[in-house]
């Protein structure tokens, strides 16, 4: 029997069992809706997230960001667990060194309200990057990040350059007496940190501000040594040559790291990939001068969660510049990953609920097909008498179940899109920020929150699963129908 003829005969079964067919189709539809809805919205979330991230990059880093770059955000899972190695305290409230403060303008004992933009302004006022190599701040980096990303004063504060932000925790392990960091006075803390930095790094400490001349084919290592940064300002002749500042910006949201172990003690500066993406010129420079960088500097971009840092640093083989993407970045828990994890958990919950509903639906389909087979006994007998083979009879009921399953899928897709669009229009923004942790660190969104995606592949997989379940549900009834005793079937009243 040709497929089309089989389908035609199967449609008569739908007519014969309108109620049961509709019920089965609708319940399958409802079972699938939860799954499809989560996929559609999940896809929409991901797209919106990317779009926001991209927007953020464009706005704040003055550079073109290619799709290839953006792909990196979700490309590597191998650093997924790294974040945990740094402990929870790094999450939001770690004290960071943003640079030496100018004591004349910064009151270390003042209790600044760090959540106020005006306070940020006050905190950062006077700490021009031209005036200090490293800023030390006690500002929660999340808020600082917010400030840096969003404020229109960005250019003024940092003279168009990007500040270094060094985690205290990353270096205090090398301090003589880390207990002193528990001092109640911010000023005392600061003085102690400064003294430790001076002691360990000495003149090398100046290297924390990396300066490159793009025109130089070789990184002028001795350039650092000979220059007294304390006199550096933007009018300085050398300062004018500064093309780039490598930045570190540490927060729970950052995505990369930079090690410099030029001195005795490594300096960890956490570099959000976004900064480096923004600094395309820098990237290009690094790529061009790869050999020089490797031989003449100790600038290494690496992150290996499997080793502790000291071991990693001593093992030079671990320090290599990745060429994979033409830059020197390694993934850590990016906002996108964190968001994806949240989304995955939600989707797993939905998967379980949808799976249960789908199972119930398939049981109902099984019952419907069984009833249909029973009610079609005479017809099966007639078909067999006029030449239908067992497979023909089986196919009629298989097709029936498949059509019901696919009808359920169509219902589910249509309704899921309608629901997704409604949710997106009414509650898109709130929902996004409640699920996409960290999403609010991005610049204000200029796009509507259209949380509707087109997960074509996933829908195809669901269609196959739905079809398969339909076949499974109809397998035994269809088999029973095909094996039916024709004589008894013809005698059936």
């Amino acid at each position: 029997m040709k497929i089309i003829d089989g389908l035609r005969l199967s449609t008569t079964k739908i007519m014969q069992k309108k109620g049961g067919s509709c019920l089965s189709g609708c319940i399958i539809g409802f079972g699938l809706i939860t799954l499809i809805l989560s996929l559609i919205i999940g896809k929409g979330f991901q797209r919106t997230f990317k779009s926001l991230y991209r927007d953020s990059l464009y706005k704040n880093y003055y550079a073109q960001v290619s799709e290839t770059d953006l792909e990196l955000f979700d490309s590597t899972d191998k650093y997924k667990n790294t974040y945990q190695n740094y402990g929870e305290k790094n999450l939001y409230s770690e004290i960071s060194i943003l640079g030496y403060a100018n004591e004349n303008t910064y009151d270390f004992d003042k209790d600044y309200d760090l959540q106020s933009n005006s306070t940020y302004q006050t905190c950062l006022d006077g700490y021009k990057i031209d005036d200090a190599e490293v800023f030390i701040t006690f500002v929660d980096e999340i808020f600082l990040e917010d400030y840096l990303y969003k404020t229109s004063e960005f250019d003024n504060d940092f003279n168009g350059k990007i500040p270094i932000l060094v985690s205290v925790n990353s270096i205090t392990q090398y301090f003589d007496d880390p207990e002193k960091l528990n001092s109640s006075s911010n000023k005392e803390k600061f003085e102690y940190i400064k003294s430790q930095l001076d002691k360990f790094w000495g003149e090398e400490y100046k290297l924390k501000l990396y300066k490159f001349k793009q025109s130089e084919s070789k990184i002028p290592v001795d350039y650092y040594d000979s220059y007294d940064y304390s006199t550096l300002d933007k009018d300085d002749e050398i300062a004018n040559d500064i093309e780039f500042v490598i930045v570190g910006f540490y927060s729970s949201m950052d995505v990369g790291s930079v090690y410099n172990y030029h001195g005795e003690m490594p300096i960890d500066a956490y570099v959000p990939k976004s900064y480096l993406y923004g600094s395309n010129k820098l990237n290009n420079f690094l790529v061009k001068n790869e050999d020089n960088i490797l031989s003449n500097t100790t600038l290494v971009f690496e992150f290996d969660s499997k080793k502790n840092r000291t071991d990693a640093i001593n093992d030079t083989s671990e320090y290599k510049i990745s060429k994979m993407y033409g830059n020197y970045l390694f993934e850590r828990n990016s906002p996108y990953q964190m968001f994806s994890e949240s989304l995955n958990i939600l989707q797993k919950i939905v998967l379980v609920i949808g799976g249960i509903m789908l199972s119930v639906a398939e049981v109902i389909l099984l019952i419907t097909v069984s009833k249909l087979v029973k009610d079609s006994t005479k017809e099966i007998g007639v078909f067999r008498a006029v030449g239908a083979q067992q497979k023909d009879i089986r196919n009629i009921f298989f097709n029936y179940a498949s059509m019901i399953s696919l009808a359920g899928l169509v219902i589910a897709v249509v309704l899921a899109y309608l629901i997704a669009i409604t949710i997106s229009v009414l509650w898109g923004e709130n929902l996004f920020y409640s699920i996409a942790i960290g999403g609010n660190n991005f610049s204000p969104n200029s796009h509507p929150f259209v949380l509707v995606g087109f997960p074509i592949l996933e829908l195809m997989i669901i269609a196959i699963i739905s079809y398969t379940l339909g076949c499974i549900a109809s397998f035994f009834p269809a088999r029973k129908a095909s094996k039916m005793d024709v004589v008894k079937a013809l005698k059936e009243e």
Partner: protein, 279 residues
């Protein structure tokens, strides 16, 4: 006699016949004779309308037996049945219920396996066919006509006619040509897009007959084809079968309880207790 009927007749005689009882009875007699004449005419099916059987044997059954075991009890549905049917012959099988005629028909169609004996139908050793082979055999060699028509209620008339061709993988275009011709032959081409519920019993049986014919079978097995029809429609159906027999030379085996129907066949085979008692 029913007193109210007597009153009614009296009233009729008084009002319409003005008390002329003789005239009244004459008219009644005339009416009765006319009806009888029509009934007789409708019941008459000339044997000359059948085709002439050929010498070639198309069905040959030898020592056919069929036993059913229900628990320890054995029932002999057929016992050493021997029968030959010629090509182009119309055979009526009669017998009381449980005499084995339906079992015989089922074995001929490959729907049941005999306990012993051989069954050769159109060159096929039916008893030895596998399930799929038996299906194909029924599809290509046989045509089935049932007492209750068994048209598919949700398929249109033309599709109902084409059902055997569905299972023979015949393309739609060819099916259409065949079904249209047959529908035209039985005068139901205008109904091709209707559903069976819109047809009368006679029309439904005609559709069932052309459904049995659509694959151009060598043999038609008709199980009580007129059992669900009134006399007049039954005769029409029998005429149609006779036409088929005569024009296409198709062998027709009819199972029936109706002697008048059976008398229209070339031969009547009487079953009793699983045996053939009259050929």
């Amino acid at each position: 006699m029913n007193p109210s009927l007597v009153d009614e007749i009296q009233k009729e005689v008084l009002t319409k016949y003005n008390g002329d009882v003789d005239q009244f009875f004459n008219d009644i007699k005339q009416l009765f004779l006319t009806s009888q004449s029509e009934i007789t005419q409708n019941n008459t099916l000339s044997k000359t309308k059948l085709g002439k059987p050929k010498d070639e044997i198309i069905v040959e059954v030898k020592n056919l037996s069929k036993e059913y075991k229900i628990g320890s009890e054995v029932t002999n549905a057929l016992q050493n049945v021997n029968l030959s049917i010629k090509k182009g012959e119309m055979v009526a099988i009669m017998g009381p219920s449980g005499s084995g005629k339906s079992t015989f028909l089922n074995i001929l169609a490959g729907l049941e396996k005999p306990t012993s004996g051989s069954t050769n139908v159109a060159g096929y050793d039916v008893a030895r066919l596998t399930d799929n082979q038996a299906s194909q055999f029924r599809n290509r060699v046989l045509g089935f006509i049932f007492q209750f028509f068994y048209l598919q209620p949700f398929l249109r008339i033309r599709e109902n006619v084409e059902i055997p061709l569905f299972f023979a993988d015949i393309p739609k275009s060819k099916r259409y040509i065949k079904s249209r011709k047959l529908l035209k032959d039985v005068g139901l081409e205008a109904k091709e897009k209707h559903l069976p519920k819109h047809l009368s019993g006679g029309q439904m049986q005609r559709i069932a007959i052309i459904r049995a014919l659509i694959n151009e079978p060598q043999i038609i097995l008709a199980d009580e084809p007129t059992g669900n029809l009134d006399r007049k429609t039954g005769n029409e159906v029998m005429n149609l079968l006779a036409d088929i027999n005569r024009e296409s030379g198709t062998t027709i085996i009819i199972v029936t309880h109706d002697e008048k129907i059976a008398e229209q066949a070339h031969r009547i085979i009487q079953f009793e207790d699983g045996k053939i008692v009259t050929k």
